[in-house]
Amino acid sequence: MSEFEKQYEELLNFLKFEDFSILTKRIIDLTLDTEDINYYKKTNDLLIWLDHNENNVDAKKVKYQEILSDLHQTLISKPILEKKVLVSTSNLQKSYGSSSFGLGPIDMELRQGEILGLVGENGNGKTTLLRCLCGELFATSGKINYHFNFKDDYHLRTKLVYIPQRTETWYGSMFENLQFTATNYGYKPEENELVVELIIARLGLRKFRNHSWKSLSSGYKMRFELARMLLRKPEILLIDEPLANLDILAQQTVLEDFRSIAKSPFRPIGIVLSSQQLYEVEKTSDQVIFLKQGKQKNLHEKASQENEVVVANNLVIEFESSLTQGELGTIFENLNMISLQFNGGTYIVNFPDTVSVYDFMQLAISHKIPLQYFRNISNSTRRFFVS
């Protein structure tokens, strides 16, 4: 089963369970995949129809089914391209003159359809790495290799979209701005408005199309930037702290959007994002780079390079409990506990590799340990934060 067919199955399930919101978004994605103005019109017609028939579930299902079948018929024959490497760095380093801070060395590789998460505490080089990758900063040493065609540095930078944490102010209406972007990126006049409508709907901005920058919340400003990015069809999206100003629900929506945008079977892009929301990033990303004082730390079972950390197969559990450290230590002795740390309201307990998460749970149940929360962080970069 091809990537597209898998995704199509997923869409049928959304329809079956009447999850219309996400279904609409994914239909828009498929519509844009067709690169066919007739489908742009059809899906736009559907969106207009939906505006007036929100509660007519049966009719909605029929409409969705129709358009899904049409899209399937067209896209099933469209070739799915092999996922190529987009960018790789070797020994990338960046220093700032007299400043003691230096980034790197960084070695990484990003392919089409992949999401790379950058995590680390503030001031450890996440933004610097993003800015190096987007061409805003030049590497003091080492190399950044872009594996796609470009004529010159300017042309390269048109293919790399960097969205900083504080997005720049724009003027005029959102719709007009997006149309301007679309025209600059070569959309034909007859498809311009249709594509912008689709992308606005894709990012849930339909109600805000004529709003100005000032009248949008931070979350919607971020969505506007994503809409603009979709029109720009970049090879790589580099985005700094996209979750910073979003509520928990919006964070999940944006991350889901990233996944579906990156993993489009026909128009895959690479995404590099930085965030403090460690678990959310780990959940979404295909690879995670942890930066500590500018140095890269990867989790590997065997260290093949200097910047890789050997991870013993220890069991590391993060949890919250009302018991004291002493009480917990006595209990965990039963599983040959290696260490128990109290860290900012949570405990981190380290067991030998012979202990599994089930052993920990059994012990917790048998000793009736009050647990408000627990998480196995044995394979999470969270370990770097607490170690």
Binding site: G135, Y154, R157, Y171, N184, Y185
Partner: protein, 506 residues
């Protein structure tokens, strides 16, 4: 209408949409037309006006408003133009895209700077509209000839061709006498070998018009004098007749006809006892003066409310005709709007467009630092020039500075590292390079002048003088050639700026 046009441009020609060139051009053309029509109205001649009696011209107010409107419209346009910047956002650009953008900015800057010129052009057009150039010239010829027979000055014998035969030594002697005795320089003139009194009609001047040069005026005077001494009364009368016809056409009146006029002025063979014809029927307040008795032959005194006024007994409307026809001839020969004067608007527009373009392609911070840096450097160079007392060291320093900015900018692009301070340098280069060739021109001219003045005999005879003359004669052409250079250089530079933009910021 504009909304639809802008909508069309937005999805077809983003650069035209972003620069708002269509609505802006329309508005600017309309305002230029308004100023042109104001000029047309202001250019209307009132033939009853003359040097002593004219309506106050509120031209300064019009110019003030034209500048005010220019500034307001410029700000308004910039607000809309700066709303979007695809270049700063790294949207795809064709090779010539930036150059086209600059051309549009230049075009709008030019239209914005034309309001005053449109006003003056309107004035010129209105004044020229009265008569064709040839007709105006013919009329001025008649007026000039007739002015010989109206109150006016006597010739300055030093510059009159009739006195060429007076030896320099003799002329000097005459001057010495004049200084010592405070009487007129010469008491006689010579014409066709015959001596006439200095106050003879033959020594009168003609009123000149822009159509004519000094030589042409002299020839005209000589013609009239020849008519007088050859008793060609008909020729003189014909001039009077035509003159009075022109006056009548403008509803201007004298109190003599051509026959009377001829009778009054024609005093063959010595032309001394002629009557002075007034140039208007205007009165002059009369004060009793022992040294200068009242000229009761030509003038009379009328007492109004206890004040004495002196009037010419005979007059023609020369003052009004001369006042208005001088304006007409000026409008034809040296109009306010000309090939040379439009240069000012061109250069102003180029300067303005480069200021805007610099801001557009770099950043507000770079732009501001460049303004301050150039200001400080200029002050320092100015002080240095004053200290070393050199005429052209400032210009030379600016030429070197321009070269430095260019080299720095090109090296920055070739090194392909970071931009560093090249944003500031780029702004400085954009503002300096238009003056590059004019400054070279100025420096060469100054050097040649210095060399020529060091010539042992005479400045004009020096071997450098022809080169100086050549540079001066072709100054306007050089200025236009420099505009061509600026445009070509901008073509090259816009390509380089695009490459530069791709460089890392830090």
């Amino acid at each position: 209408m504009f909304k639809n046009i802008q909508k069309y441009l937005l999805i077809n020609y983003p650069l035209l949409w972003n620069t708002k060139v269509v609505p802006t051009t329309f508005i600017l053309i309309v305002i230029n037309l308004i100023f042109f029509f104001i000029g047309l109205e202001k250019g209307k001649l009132d033939f009853f006006e003359n040097d002593n009696n004219y309506t106050y011209d509120d031209e300064a107010v019009v110019i003030f408003f034209s500048i005010l409107v220019s500034i307001l419209l410029l700000i308004l346009w910039l607000v809309f133009y700066f709303k979007n910047n695809s270049f700063k956002s790294f949207y795809p650009k064709r090779t010539l895209s930036l150059f086209k953008e600059w051309c549009i900015v230049l075009f709008i800057s030019f239209l914005i700077s034309l309001f005053t010129s449109s006003y003056y052009y309107g004035k010129d057009v209105r004044m020229r509209s009265y008569f064709t150039e040839q007709e105006a010239k013919n009329r001025c010829e008649i007026l000039s000839k007739a002015s010989f027979f109206v109150e006016g000055s006597y010739s300055n014998n030093y510059y009159d061709e009739d006195y060429d035969e007076i030896p320099v030594a003799e002329a000097s002697k005459v001057s010495v006498i004049a200084a010592d005795t405070a009487v007129v320089a010469n008491d006689s003139i010579k014409f066709n070998g015959k001596k006439y009194s200095y106050f003879s009609l033959l020594n009168k001047n003609v009123n000149s018009y822009s159509f004519f040069d000094h030589e042409s005026d002299s020839i005209r005077k000589k013609t009239i004098k020849t008519w007088l001494v050859n008793q060609q009364k008909d020729s003189i009368k014909s001039v009077f007749k035509q003159y009075l016809a022109i006056a009548k056409e403008h509803n201007l009146k004298g109190n003599i006809d051509e026959n009377k006029w001829l009778d009054l002025i024609y005093d063959y063979p010595n032309f001394v006892n002629y009557r002075e014809i007034g140039s208007s029927n205007m009165n002059y307040e009369y004060y009793d003066n022992v040294n200068q008795p009242q000229d009761s032959l030509n003038k009379y005194i009328k007492v109004v409310n206890g004040v004495k006024y002196e009037y010419y007994k005979y007059f023609v409307p020369e003052k009004s005709l001369n006042y208005n026809y001088s304006k007409i001839s000026e409008a034809w020969v040296a109009p306010n709007m000309s090939f040379a004067s439009i240069l000012i608007s061109f250069y102003f527009a180029i300067g303005l467009s480069l200021l805007i373009f610099g801001f557009r392609v770099t950043s507000g911070r770079n732009w501001l630092i460049a303004v301050i840096s150039l200001g400080v450097i200029s002050i320092l160079l100015g002080i240095f020039s004053i200290i070393i007392r050199s005429d052209y060291s400032f210009a030379l320093a600016v030429i070197l500075l321009t070269l430095f900015t260019f080299i720095y900018f090109i090296v920055t692009i070739s090194r392909k590292k970071s931009k560093n301070i090249s944003g500031v340098i780029l702004n400085a280069m954009l503002w300096l390079f238009p003056s590059f060739f004019p400054l070279i021109y100025y420096v060469i001219l100054e050097i040649l002048r210095d060399l020529a003045q060091a010539h042992p005999v005479d400045y004009l005879l020096s071997e450098y003088y022809p080169a100086i003359q050549f540079l001066k004669d072709y100054g306007v052409i050089f200025a236009y050639l420099n505009i061509a250079f600026i445009i070509i250089f901008m073509l090259f530079l816009s390509v380089k700026i695009k490459q530069w933009r791709g460089l890392a910021e830090g």
